[in-house]
Symmetry: C2
Amino acid sequence: MNPYQNLIENTTLLNSLSLENIRLYLANGAFKVQTYAKNSIVHFEGDSCFKLEIILTGKVVVARIDESGNLLTIAEFYKDDILGGNLMFSKNPYYPMTTTTPEESVILEIEKNLLFNLLSESPVILKAYLEFVADHTFILGDKIKHYVNKTIRECVLGYLEYESKHQKSNKIILNMTKQTLADKIGVQRTSLSRELSKMRNDGLIEYDSKSITIL
Amino acid sequence: MNPYQNLIENTTLLNSLSLENIRLYLANGAFKVQTYAKNSIVHFEGDSCFKLEIILTGKVVVARIDESGNLLTIAEFYKDDILGGNLMFSKNPYYPMTTTTPEESVILEIEKNLLFNLLSESPVILKAYLEFVADHTFILGDKIKHYVNKTIRECVLGYLEYESKHQKSNKIILNMTKQTLADKIGVQRTSLSRELSKMRNDGLIEYDSKSITIL
DNA sequence: CCTATATAGTTACCAAGGTAACGCTTTTAT
DNA sequence: ATAAAAGCGTTACCTTGGTAACTATATAGG
């Protein structure tokens, strides 16, 4: 018995599928389970997309790397989330960004034709799918809204505001390095450092290597 | 008889619907036709989205306006295209940007529940819908790819390259004002002016008020 | 325990581009 | 026809932030 059957059964997208069907699809190759080691590349920018992926365990990062090698993290996805949903049915089904696994991850691949059949036969799956796709678009739109044409200070304040609500505290614990934060915002680490120091001078924040406190 | 019946019948999304059904939906209010005057606002940023819209005639522009009133045009949609497709089924169904009609436009509104029924009952409509949604996401991703962290010169060259292919000529006719071009790229008009002049000095282009020629 | 590597902070220098102010030309409306 | 408004180019000034080079600390592997 496939050890991932149980994980598949509990995904938001596929929890209405019967165990028999899951077994069948795994057996006939319409479902495939792939394991990626830490720091693997799942898709290169420009690769074409013929299958939907569901993250069974681990974490996937979508990032844009420009000609000079600069990184801008666009989105992070975790267990249960889907990948490629917005792309697959496009006339240009090419991944616009690079996708990597910063930690070991297990991903279920669903063949495009099977997916289309599932969507047209099951309103429950269709509803869940449309919701996933919509939320992903929302993330993209949000990225544009927040990070295009904004100063580093505004990006940092936006991040702090979000995290402050999330962590329910004015003292925000950074569970990442400053380098990673800089990549998320899409700026150089040194520039982030400089701006943080300016913000401290201006009495807006206090910070150390592991946390930032909003004053 | 509704004068727009014919237009509706010929849309990519709904061309598989029977004339009777179109009449029925128009009669019972699940379909509604709205006319917008030149320079109307269709949706404000933050409005919530409960219906799908199909452009029957005219043009719709999606733009982001920041606190200082600066404009960045994200996308333009024409006859036959859909609006709100990516949003409606999201847990946060709020328009992330402002939508306007720069010219008189006629838009068909489709009630969300009816749309969902159509999608689950008709694989043909589902397929067309998924394709539209995917292509729209592609446009968004493309915006991020092209306009984030790039110089004005790169944006201009990207635009010229695209238009040059499209117009099949090195002499690109600008069917818009320089101000509009600047908004598309997301920069100040004066900065665009300056960069164009620099590019002329560098021997890259020649231009006047209505065209730009690539050398 | 000690060295190597990742993480951080600092700063001088410079390029890109936003702002504002001005002048000229073209369109549009009355 | 004429006034008002919109479009366009130019330029001095200044802020933002990327680059690079250096230093300091922390963490991990031997």
